[in-house]
């Protein structure tokens, strides 16, 4: 109880509330501008949060991302351009509704059910994380080794159409993670005599490069003409929402559950959750023929899925230190910087911090309703912000922000290289998420792998001797070998 009191004190501290308000406006803006993503919002916030106490730092990221995932719906609805990838699944649907003069219903559904989805995901986080943490206290290096490997495997199986390229991307990430002194032997690997590389390649500069600089490059290389804003007046967005909630309770529930689950799986975040949810919604709908013509059902379901995924992604991030999506991959970096290393002990040693995180999630999703409403009102002005002025400023901000972490231009170089590499990887169909997970988890994977091998005297059989480790091991192998087998069987059945 005392911890809960402390948590309330930290969250309702005036400074923290100001940070949340500022982060909300920032998140709403970034989400609403096409080409600026929620992940980019997180990456841009990191240099600023670097100078804050742990709770306000986390508050800034939690609020900004929740708002950005919602406000990504706005340009989708008015411009037919998703503000963030998480809104892409139902952009055409929302735009079709706007053309039918139902923009307020599409936006309202996005707002109300986003907030609800976020709260649902938070509830699951609150209920499941401490239980998992309790369980994880007994994990040894064997279990952690499999858990990390399973997480990385899931990331490839779920996210990429081309698993081979996903694996290649992951290997690039793992290779980057092995640069420097931080390995069990303490031997400087791949440093080529550079003292800057001894500490390894900084995760934060890399993330800023991969998620912000690559987006700037994508913007300047975009040859499509600017989209025009639909000139419809947007009426009362809350009208009819209660009716929708009563009409589609099952869809809302399904979207929330699927979203939280997909979010909790490593590597797959809000965007995948929305795509899957939209597909599920269409498949089980009584009126699937209406999908794509401006039908709100899919928006209700997938709009709540992407926000619940956001909270779901925090479950493995807090309990095991395994990020559920690219946003939590950045957050894990921030937690380490703030001496709040993720893991089961986080729940026992300083429970007030965990309670504060829960409270932040709840507040962010409640705040979303009034602030989101205001954002819709000024949406047309936001959409008119000239991006040819915005993007150069973001680049300068990235440079200065990266420099600020360690006060060295070496990191700025890393940021630039990461940005260019990420751009070309995506151009050629290599997914970025596995590479990021590889960088974040590489050290943990190697550490647990080497520790386990030393414990077992080099025998791989020992990796399956403990019951939980064996289960995780079998699951990992299944993730590797089942999809190709199933594909082959299906092809044989078809032929």
């Amino acid at each position: 109880m005392e911890a809960l009191q402390l948590a309330f004190g930290m969250v309702f501290d005036p400074y923290n509330l100001w940070v949340m308000l500022g982060a909300s406006l920032f998140g709403l803006f970034v989400g609403a501008v096409p080409g600026l993503t929620a992940t980019m919002a997180t990456a841009l916030l990191v240099p600023v949060t670097f100078f804050m106490a742990p709770i306000p730092a986390i508050a800034a990221i939690v609020t900004a991302t929740a708002m950005a995932i919602f406000s990504g719906d706005i340009p989708g609805c008015l411009l037919r351009m998703p503000g963030t990838p998480a809104s892409a699944a139902y952009t055409d649907e929302a735009y079709a509704m706007t053309r039918k003069g139902q923009a307020e219903t599409a936006l309202g559904a996005g707002l109300v059910f986003s907030a609800f989805g976020g709260l649902f995901g938070t509830a699951v986080l609150i209920l499941s994380a401490p239980m998992l943490a309790d369980f994880a206290l007994h994990f040894s290096s064997f279990e952690y080794f499999w858990l990390v490997l399973l997480g990385l495997s899931c990331a490839i199986v779920i996210t990429s159409e081309a698993p081979l390229k996903g694996v290649a991307s992951l290997m690039i990430g793992l290779l980057v993670a092995s640069v420097g002194l931080d390995n069990p032997a303490g031997f400087p690997r791949f440093t080529f005599g550079s003292t800057d590389l001894l500490g390894g390649i900084g995760v934060i500069p890399m993330m800023i490069g991969m998620f912000a600089v690559s987006e700037i490059l994508r913007f300047v290389a975009d040859t499509k003409p600017e989209a025009l804003v639909v000139e419809n007046a947007v009426g009362n967005v809350f009208k009819g929402m209660w009716g929708l909630a009563k009409k589609y309770p099952l869809q809302i529930f399904r979207g929330n559950v699927l979203g939280t689950l997909v979010g909790a799986l490593p590597g797959a975040g809000a965007d995948i959750a929305a795509w899957m949810s939209y597909a599920v919604s269409k498949k089980f709908s009584k009126e699937p023929e209406k999908f794509g013509t401006g039908h709100v059902e899919g928006i209700v379901e997938s709009g709540s899925a992407n926000n619940s995924a956001l909270a779901g992604a925090w479950i493995p991030a807090l309990v095991f230190g395994i990020p559920g999506d690219s946003i939590t991959a950045i957050i894990i970096g921030v937690l380490y910087m703030k001496n709040m290393a993720p893991g089961p002990t986080l729940f026992t040693q300083n429970p007030q911090n965990i309670y504060a995180v829960y409270l932040l999630f709840i507040m962010a999703n409640i705040l979303m309703i009034p602030l989101g409403f205001a954002c819709i009102k000024v949406a047309k002005q936001i959409l008119r912000v000239p991006r040819n002025i915005l993007m150069p400023i973001i680049l300068l901000f990235c440079i200065v922000g990266t420099f600020a972490i360690n006060n060295t231009v070496f990191d700025v170089g890393i940021m630039l290289i990461a940005g260019v590499v990420a751009y070309f990887m995506e151009e050629n169909g290599f997914p970025i998420a596995p590479a990021i997970l590889g960088v974040v988890l590489g050290e943990m994977l190697e550490q647990n792998f080497v520790t386990s091998l030393i414990k077992s005297d080099g025998s791989m059989l020992a990796f399956f001797e403990r019951p939980v480790a064996a289960t995780l091991g079998v699951l990992t192998l299944a993730a590797w070998f089942l999809p190709p087998v199933v594909r082959r069987l299906r092809r044989m059945a078809g032929a």
């Binding site: 290779l175 032997a185 600089v213 300047v220 680049l395």
Partner: protein, 157 residues
Amino acid sequence: MKLSDAFTGALLAALGIAVLLYSRGFPQIHGQEIGPAVFPSVVAAVMLGCGVILMFNGWKARAERPWYEVPDWMRSRRHTGAFITVIAAAIVYILLGDIVGFFIIGSLTLLVLFLVLGVKPVVAVITAIIATAVIWYAFYKLLRVPLPWGIFTAYAF
């Protein structure tokens, strides 16, 4: 630029081989079989495998997929210019930032990029100066990041 999988595969395979060879030079630890070379070697081997399969796939698909595709932006001089300018601006910042100082390098970076992206010159100059000043104030004064003064070091405040 979109390259055939044969090229990207070859690139990955080459990187894999390079890492495999390079990590053979890592020292062994006495009394232990698992040295610092094990992890990167496993990673490099998998990478080599992926690269070889991608090369094979790319070769098989050579009839349907060209060796390389030049995207639209590379055909447009304006877009290629902008793309190169963004990268060049960051490189120039890295090389010259400390020498000339943040005010000059920051506002010049913005100004050049604004002009390349088609912002009107008057707007570009004013926005470049104001935005640089705001970023400077936020990071130097509020967050106390030691942004370089460069040639103005004598007048630092």
